[in-house]
Amino acid sequence: MGDRSTAAPAGFDADRVCAAAAQMRRDIVTMLEKAGSGHPGGSLSATDIIATLYFGGVLRHDPSDPQMPGRDRFILSKGHAAPALYAALAQDGYFPREWLDTLRKLGSHLQGHPDMRKCPGVEVSTGSLGQGLAVGSGMALGMHRDWARGDSASPAGREPQVFVMMGDGELQEGEVWEAAMFAASRRLPNLVAIVDNNTLQIDGHLDDVVSLGDICAKFSAFGWFTIDLADGNDVVEANEALTRAVAYDAGPVAIVAHTIKGKGVSFMENQVGWHGKAPSAEQLAQALADIDAAAGVAERKGC
């Protein structure tokens, strides 16, 4: 990991992102245990990329002004990973941490799936899989026109970006490919799709349900520039991939991130059964111990 700090662009602090990711993991398992239902597996696989977006300086946004003009947008198309998003938003100051305790409860801002009308920082409501990339394409198109026309300022001086995170199983939805064709045909320079390629869906391994085969090849054939992110749970690699994707402006970019479902919680990793089940109190204790241990190791290793 010696070359990480050199590979990472200025402004990216791997330690800070790792620590933020660890805190997100703690929050995820804790809120799920409190809620008694929800989706840990796909929240934990996505955590490091979301942490990189929010705490690695990739996403240009302002928690004190969620509707800031010219901001980047993040769409969690795989809305069932809401706990990961809520954990990031809380840690970033979009809303009080206490809200996390209300996840999935009557009257909560934190609905089972992200509700843009109830939770600041949620750019669009999701939960029905397969819809985020189309919405992101429309957003990217509108934002690109505003930018090209000079109607839009960006806090970073670069063109505002739209990041859409999808599950790998989610790619089985045809609407994703409709959106892929559309975005490629319009050569949207500010659209980044991130596939959380944890190889599992609800009913099992993707290859045992309906195989996605080579996901990069599919996006390539649909006219996208693709980046294979070998370890989507490594924040340095994630940052590199996201930075490259932002820089690429000849069209939309798909990052296919190889991740581990349930990452960071020993008994959840690669377990299809932990897709949509809350941990018990004992399991939570074990999960928190796992997360703390990994965070400690990471600290010792300088990450």
């Binding site: 947008r73 509700d115 843009m116 009308r117 750019e123 669009v124 409501s125 999701t126 939960g127 029905s128 397969g130 819809q131 990339l133 189309a134 919405v135 992101g136 394409s137 429309g138 957003m139 990217a140 198109l141 509108g142 934002m143 026109r145 505003d146 045809g174 609407e175 409709e178 959106a179 064709m181 559309f182």
Partner: protein, 317 residues
Amino acid sequence: MADTQTQSRPARATREAFGETLVELAEQGLPVVAVDADLAGSTTTKKLGAYDPELLVDVGIAEQDMVGVAAGLSLTGRIAFTGSFAVFGTGRCYDQIRNTVCYGRLNVKVCPTHAGLSVGPDGGSHQMLEDIALMSALPNMRVIVPADYESARSALRLAARVDGPVYVRMGRAKVPQVYDAGCELSLGGSCLLREGTDVTLLACGVEVDQALRACDELAREGVSAEVIDVYSVKPLDEAAILASALKTGRVVTCEEHMLAGGMGSVVASLLSERQPTPMRMVGMRDSFGTSGSFEELLSHFGMDAAAICEAARSLLA
């Protein structure tokens, strides 16, 4: 207000209002954009594209993507109108309209054309007779069913003006003009077209013309029919309907739509809960359409003026 001399002006289709009104709104500086799905010529959104190519986004034959792209555009401050035919522009993207547009209360106007029997020869696969049911069941959605070209223009202006999801149902069939240019529809409004005392005819869309004809025919038989255009199917003008039903004591609903979930069923629910009143419902009774001309089909399936008269007579019997 409405001009009841319906025969004086040329018949026009409600869809003809679409592209024209969008251009007018764009000219007024409203941030409108149309998203169509390979039917920009048929829906007339092409006119907006001719005015400014940036304002028409054609996503190809991909109605789900059409709604998603419109949703995304609305989230950049635009007023996004979707197109396509009613059968595909509602049914093929219902979940997208539900979970992205309505759940998020986005500023998307679902405005497909070619609703109902107006696609005639294309046949039952294309004759959308459930769209009012689909759209009315959706929270946050408003449903407007204009009767003619001028009221369609007004409906589209209204849709642009109010924030959030609106459904405007347009057709391909040329229908006689009922309204004057510059008429103003309102959300939750209705329009009293003929006053009467014996029976109330509540109609929307192309059935307004049929109801007016029925009113004339009934008048010849000595029956005084009140005709109300309930163009705002959701929200419904409950006060006007209750008042008229109280006055006449008999209600016939007239719609070019499936009875299940249609305007008539909403009226029946209202009356049953608030003021039970004998009713007859004119509309499609649980059947697909079939190939034929629009006029043939209206009579074949019992939705023409004659069918309305018969319904009214049976209430008066």
